[in-house]
Amino acid sequence: MKKVLGNKAAIALFVVPALILYTALVMVPVIWSLYYSLFSGSPGLKWEFVGIKNYLDLFRDKNFRNALMVNFKYISVVTVGQVGLGLLLALMFKFWLKHCKSFVRTLVFFPVVLPTVAVGQLFAKIYEIQPHYGLLNSFLSAVGLQDLVQPWIGQESTALWALCVMDIWVAMGFYSVIFYGALLDISDDILEAAHIDGASGFNLFRRILLPLLRPMIITSLVFSFSGTVKMFESALALTKGGPGAATKSLSMYMYDVSFTFNKVGYGSVIAIVIFLICVCGSAIINKFDVRDD
């Protein structure tokens, strides 16, 4: 047994190819980004060592600050929306739904599997105002709310929220399925005991379910957070970052800076900021898990 499982040649064969690929294409580029961030221009074109100047520029860069704000708004709304509504749906499935549980569960998961760009195109048409009203505006005008008809993704005041709604729509089914699984694991005895003690409704949720679901909620928050920090595909597909820079995220700004304006060094600094936000954010969320135990 030991001899077979300690077979050095087999271990090397199993691990080394993947290790090389992963190191070369994931880890090396991450470290390389750090190195790039100390240069200005792009390799082969005005490529000069500037030290931490790029980092200092960041603080004075209005576009960067805007992208950071957009990203923060998006992260907070979408993370809370996805996880919160997912939890709410799961509770409904558990306590309200008597029949067709698995049918409903399958149904709400549908949007999760759709390609992001396709969803973006679909919602672009839903929010459309020109040349014809899209789905939303045509509904509004049909029920007599003509005043609410507006270019949902064509104006700065609503574009980001329209994007958030889309991304919450896409993912809430995913979280509801995860939470539903966790709810099924809670034994009926506990719920019954709570009932006998007079807990019901919101009290039951707060005192019994919430503590039991907490690890799941933390995991979901981390998952949703690391997904929303990236904010790129859906925004590109729905609004292309516009109007103006109303939905331009850090990733999109990084992409513009390094590939459109060819400032690879400066782009790398933004990439590193994204990485840091991702690591710190997850660490902070995880902190909530330990404190109360």
């Binding site: 047994m1 077979v4 499982l5 300690g6 077979n7 050095k8 087999a10 271990i11 691990v15 190819p17 993947a18 290790l19 690929l21 992963y22 294409l25 994931v26 880890m27 090396v28 580029p29 991450v30 980004s33 790039y36 309200w96 399958t106 149904l107 709400v108 998961f109 549908f110 949007p111 599997v113 759709l114 390609p115 992001t116 760009v117 195109q121 679909l122 839903i126 459309e128 020109q130 040349p131 014809h132 789905l135 049909a142 729509w169 399925v177 995860i178 966790a182 990236k230 595909e233 590109l236 990084m254 992409y255 390094s258 690879v264 790398s268 990439a271 994204i274 990485f275 991702c278 690591v279």
Partner: protein
Amino acid sequence: MTMRKVKGGLRGFIIVLICMIEIYPLFWMLTASLKQQHEWSENPAYALNKGFYVQNYADAWTRGNMAVFFKNSLITTLISLVFIVIFSVTVGFAVTKMQWKLRKAVAKYFTFGIMIPVAVALIPLFQIYNKAHLLNTRACLILTYIAFGLSLSIYLVQGYLRSFPDDIMEAAVIDGCGIYKMMWHIVVPLMKNAIVTVLVLQFFFKWNDLLFSMTFISDSSLKTIQTGLLYFSDEFGSKNWGAIFASVSMSVFPMLILYTVLNKKLMEGMMAGAVKG
């Protein structure tokens, strides 16, 4: 009594409403993809299609190049999936079940990748492929897909393998199985569920990729379905709505069919993975 009935009715109504919210946009997309151009200006957007104008699909497939994009996406996705599965099973097995010094460290090293946003590696990768003359090839997409699919897949496989019974392996060894024979005949067949979960999850991720393919591929004959869709909508602009809906529907339905078929396995795999994670 009536109070309870009202309550029940209200609850039923809310659930139906939620299902409507999740499903109706997809239904609308389907009807919209079958509308003729003039229906858009004559009827409100929510109206059902008058007939079945299948020409939209033909337009998208040929004039919109969807056929090409589909082929490209299939090739890159399938090849990278094969390697992701092989690597995640072998590495996952080596770091959980085999005996060597660095296994814990290597496992941690791979897991770390889950945290890395792809945007961070994008710029150096572009430079590497540029130098290696790999830009605008399928190879660079496939390599990147494999490398970025490893962390999560290995993590999932590890989760499954931890509860994998050692006695079965022991019995196999006593019967004279070598390591390779044991992997192929004992371990892989018993890990079917884990493999399906990895396959389906990674299929969704790779099929969905936009960032890598739009950065590395500018040749429109090599574009994948996601970049193709973006490009297509720019090309046809706001004019040909029917064709846009047809192309969107075409990219959506393979996923929906795949999901409906594998629904049970995926749900089980996700819940199991989630509980352990």
